[in-house]
């Protein structure tokens, strides 16, 4: 694999280079892989899906929240519609189970109307205002003071890791070159035209650059001299994850939103865990995904307002994600909004496809954003000839715990490595781990395996599997255990051998 990459990139000019392998960069790579283009996708981290896409609420929003007339609203609505197809082709877990905005007490009720109207303007189908009694019936653990809810049947949930990997893997299957631990540093500019980029791994020539750098999209565009006033402010959101065996909230429950965010929610996930969060706190440091006492307390207060019976005792994990909040004004002069998405080919310089401020609902919007980029390139005169052998299907690999006992039997019969459980809480097998290590985007770190298989995400949080996974990675990669890391260089698990073994 590595060898293939090296020969492919040496002295090579690409048609398109995409910076950032989050969901947005990966979806773009996947959509562009349909055409006869030489595409390079670079990612500064040791794996794909290490940025914002790795820490969010995983909702495919129905689209009643963004202000009508914004690019955000447009992308959300278009994106939401595409998820059945995208999830089907890429074999991503996706459940269109609908979502609720829940009003607690009479005072919050008017907000539901407001959201409903917004949804109608945005073109959200299948919305309904339902009574407090009806909400109590559908979610018995809801706060008994519930006064009503907005129900949107097109809301859904997915697994953002799976979506990110699948999109990227399908891109790689279709000829996109992926380089990890490769950081964009500067543009090579010839007059008013971008002709290449400099990275820590060398210089690559290209005709087009796509800025999908998430939190760092402002830095990237500034280096091209575009939108000097544009600024990303990281806004942190913290979460708790609960043990699926002990807490089961069956629905996607939003509170009535505040001015700055959609509020602290209580929601189920495609893995059956309940998660609560996020709060919203603007910070400075784009790498600061630490959880804080204050943040967790705020999340807890917000969540028990919706579902009072939650119990901290069953929390199994904490995490935080950073929204890449931008300050771009909505293009539509009639809409007073200054946190809109940037999706453009700027006139000031040639060769840049510029994105910025892709905060929530960026996951939901990602297929539409990718589709829009295809359109922008066409508009810019790219021929975009379709490949005859493009394969939109990314086959799923078996997940032991999702199979019936009969299916498990057959799987183990065919490959005994699927008979050995390595993660005792989530029942992830050695077979699955080995398959990921040798997949088109090889998993080379503990977190890479965790995010692909869901190993180590249960109640013991990897206490059991960590030594075993270090052993398997070491064996399969032919590396000494001391070189096996959690998430790339500098995060190795072990510092050396004991005195006498």
């Amino acid at each position: 694999m590595t060898k293939y990459l090296r020969s492919k990139t040496e002295n090579k000019n690409f048609d398109v280079i995409i910076i950032g392998a989050g969901i947005v960069g990966s979806m773009i790579a996947r959509f562009l892989s349909r055409y006869k283009l030489d595409i390079l996708l670079i990612e500064k981290e040791a794996d794909v899906c290490m940025g914002t896409t790795a820490a969010n609420t995983a909702i495919i929003h129905a689209g009643y929240d963004p202000l009508p007339g914004t690019l955000k609203a447009e992308m959300n609505i278009l994106g939401n519609r595409m998820w059945n197809t995208v999830a089907g082709e890429l074999n991503i877990p996706f459940e269109r189970r609908g979502d609720y905005v829940v009003a607690i007490g009479k005072k919050e009720l008017p907000h539901l109307d407001e959201l409903f109207q917004r949804g109608v303007k945005n073109g959200v189908p299948g919305m309904m205002l339902i009574s407090g009694d009806e909400v109590r019936k559908r979610e018995p653990d809801i706060n008994p003071d519930v006064s009503g809810a907005l129900w949107a049947e097109t809301g859904g949930i997915t697994d953002p890791f799976a979506a990110n990997f699948a999109a990227c893997e399908n891109a790689v299957m279709n000829g996109v070159t992926l380089l990890l631990e490769t950081a964009f540093e500067a543009f090579v500019i010839d007059g008013k035209r971008i002709v290449g980029i400099k990275t820590n791994k060398g210089t690559f020539g290209t005709r087009w650059i796509v800025n999908a750098a998430g939190l760092y999209s402002d830095d990237v565009m500034h280096k091209a001299g575009i939108r000097p006033e544009f600024k990303i402010t990281p806004r942190k959101g913290e979460y708790y994850v609960f043990d699926s065996a002990d807490i089961s909230v069956n629905n996607v429950l939003f509170p009535v939103p505040t001015v700055i965010s959609k509020g602290i929610m209580v929601t189920t996930t495609v893995h059956g865990n309940t998660i609560i969060g996020p709060n919203a706190e603007s910070i400075q440091d784009k790498e600061d995904t630490s959880v804080t006492e204050e943040g967790l307390t705020e999340v807890w207060r917000g969540a028990v307002k919706l579902v009072p019976k939650l119990n901290l005792r069953y929390a199994i994990s904490l995490f935080a994600g950073l929204r890449a909040e931008g300050n771009a004004r909505c293009k539509n002069q009639n809409v007073n909004y200054s946190h809109d998405y940037v999706i453009e080919i700027p006139a000031e310089i040639q060769g840049l496809v510029n994105l910025g401020g892709i905060e929530s609902p960026g996951l939901a919007s990602s297929p539409a954003i990718a589709q829009r980029i295809v359109g922008l390139l066409k508009d810019a005169g790219e021929k975009l000839e379709e490949k005859s052998d493009w394969n939109p299907i990314r086959p799923a690999r078996p997940r032991f715990r999702d199979l019936s006992k009969e299916e498990q039997k057959i799987l183990i019969h065919n490959d005994p490595e699927y008979g050995r459980i390595v993660c005792r809480c989530e029942n992830v097998t050695e077979g699955e781990i080995v398959a990921e290590i040798h997949s088109p985007i090889p998993a080379r770190t503990y977190d890479a395996i965790k995010r692909r298989t869901w190993l180590g995400t249960g109640r013991c949080q990897g206490a059991f599997d960590t030594p075993r996974v270090v052993g398997i990675l070491s064996r399969e990669l032919g590396l000494p255990p001391e070189q096996i890391s959690k998430k790339g260089p500098g995060s190795e698990f072990l510092v050396g051998k004991t005195k006498k073994v």
Partner: protein, 426 residues
């Protein structure tokens, strides 16, 4: 050799609890006894406990963990107990149909006349105690670090902070020091030690490792690998006291903040769990609320002495054999045990009305707060004192036992509930 499809007694887990149960079941007349163990060897967590301190009650000897385990492994094998290693039990039904999987034997289904659950415990993690900060490499539970060091032969760090004064953490403090690592600090949020005093003396004091009571981790620092731990003092409500923060440079944080009985399988089997212990409700035979399903060891409640785990295993194994041979289909008529002041929990939760007919019954008790001074442990039915025992002190880290003599048979038979109290001496 093909595995049989039906066993008298199937034991899940081969720690001291499981080994004891299998041996006792066989000795009590069960013919086909099987141990299923997910690890590659028999012995459970003892295999990674290479320090001394095991067997002081059972053998009056001071053995390392693997040696202690070996005595029971040897006995189990010589008794003809069958074993299935490197095999994980996935599911047990209330009627004792067992599903397991293994790389070597494939997907396995077995019926058991009686089952003993002996899955041990897992360690509490960082998220469960809500430790703020980043999520870098270098945060381990003490048991995971113990496995890396003692089984795999690798060092997980050089400079450690240990959170929690539990036994595993203290034992690891000594072990890592002997391996050349520096233990900067052991932090304990409670105003008292949570492990046994002997470990404090032998593992911390003798190695000049500082222990700070009423302190906890305020924050983990470092993005890729732990770079430092910020400690903080806490008040009576265990809330951080502003201004007492201290940055301790370290590359590793070990967590020794308690064990949680591992009962996911028990839940699937429909076994009732006590929210206080996290383990099954049990009677004096260590039978759970599902007839024919017994349990023993850390899966029931957390032990500090392995000898008592073995003893609990014996009781469960004997009960399981009895059930398997008689095929009793119902539960037993019993008396509940109630906790008195300063008592955390009592095992067993109930005594069957006939329990004192043939033998006295020992209760295992954990206290909530330490009392440094003589106390009576008493068992009453409200009117009569059934048993009473003097202790020099009681501490949460050290389980106490009290035996109800056979002469209390009639009182137990007629009682509604029995209460265990701790009463100051004099």
């Amino acid at each position: 050799m093909a595995l049989k499809k039906k066993f008298d007694v199937v034991v899940v887990g081969s720690g001291p609890g499981g080994l004891g149960a299998a041996i006792a079941a066989k000795k009590a007349g069960a013919e086909d006894v099987l141990i299923i163990e997910r690890d590659k060897e028999l012995g459970g967590i003892l295999l990674q406990c290479i320090h001394n301190g095991f067997g002081t009650e059972m053998f009056k000897e001071d053995l390392p963990g693997p040696k202690y385990a070996q005595r029971f492994v040897g006995e189990a094998l010589s008794l003809g107990i069958e074993t299935l290693l490197d095999a994980m039990v996935l599911d047990i039904t209330p009627l004792r149909h067992i599903y397991a999987t293994s790389k070597w034997s494939g997907f396995i289904e077995i019926d058991a006349r009686a089952v003993v659950l002996a899955m041990g415990a897992r360690e509490r993690t960082r998220s469960q105690i809500r430790t703020p900060g980043t999520r870098p490499a270098g945060v381990y539970t003490a048991g995971t670090a113990q496995r890396f060091v003692n089984i795999e032969g690798f060092m997980p760090g050089k400079r450690f902070v240990i959170l929690g004064s539990g036994d595993i953490g203290m034992i690891m403090a000594r072990r890592l020091t002997l391996e050349g690592a520096k233990i900067e600090r052991v932090l304990e949020i409670m105003p008292f030690l949570t492990g046994v005093t002997r470990n404090y003396v032998q593992c911390l004091r003798d190695f000049d490792i500082p222990l700070q009571l009423r302190h906890t981790v305020n924050r983990i620092l470092g993005n890729k690998r732990v770079e430092a731990i910020e400690s903080v003092q806490v008040d009576e409500q265990m809330k951080p006291i502003p201004g007492t923060e201290e940055i301790i440079p370290a590359d590793t944080l070990l967590l020794s903040v308690g064990l949680i009985p591992e009962n996911e399988l028990s839940k699937k089997a429909g076994v009732g769990l006590d929210p206080i212990t996290g383990g099954p409700y049990v009677n004096e035979e260590m039978e759970t609320t599902v007839p024919g399903i017994f349990s023993a060891g850390n899966v029931v409640h957390i032990y500090d002495l392995v000898d008592w785990v073995t003893e609990a295993g014996y009781i469960a194994g004997k009960g399981a054999a009895k059930f398997a041979l008689s095929e009793r289909k119902h539960g037993l008529d019993s008396v509940k045990l109630k906790v008195g002041v300063n008592i955390h929990h009592i095992i067993p939760h109930m005594l069957s009305k006939e329990s004192l007919r043939d033998i006295p019954q020992k209760l295992q008790v954990r206290v909530i707060k330490p009392i440094e001074g003589k106390v009576w442990i008493e068992v009453t039915d409200g009117k009569n004192l059934l048993a009473r025992k003097l202790e020099r002190y009681v501490r949460p880290g050290e389980m106490v036992t009290i035996e109800i003599p056979q002469k209390a048979y009639d009182m137990v038979k007629n009682a509604e509930t029995l209460t265990v109290n701790i009463v100051k001496f004099g």
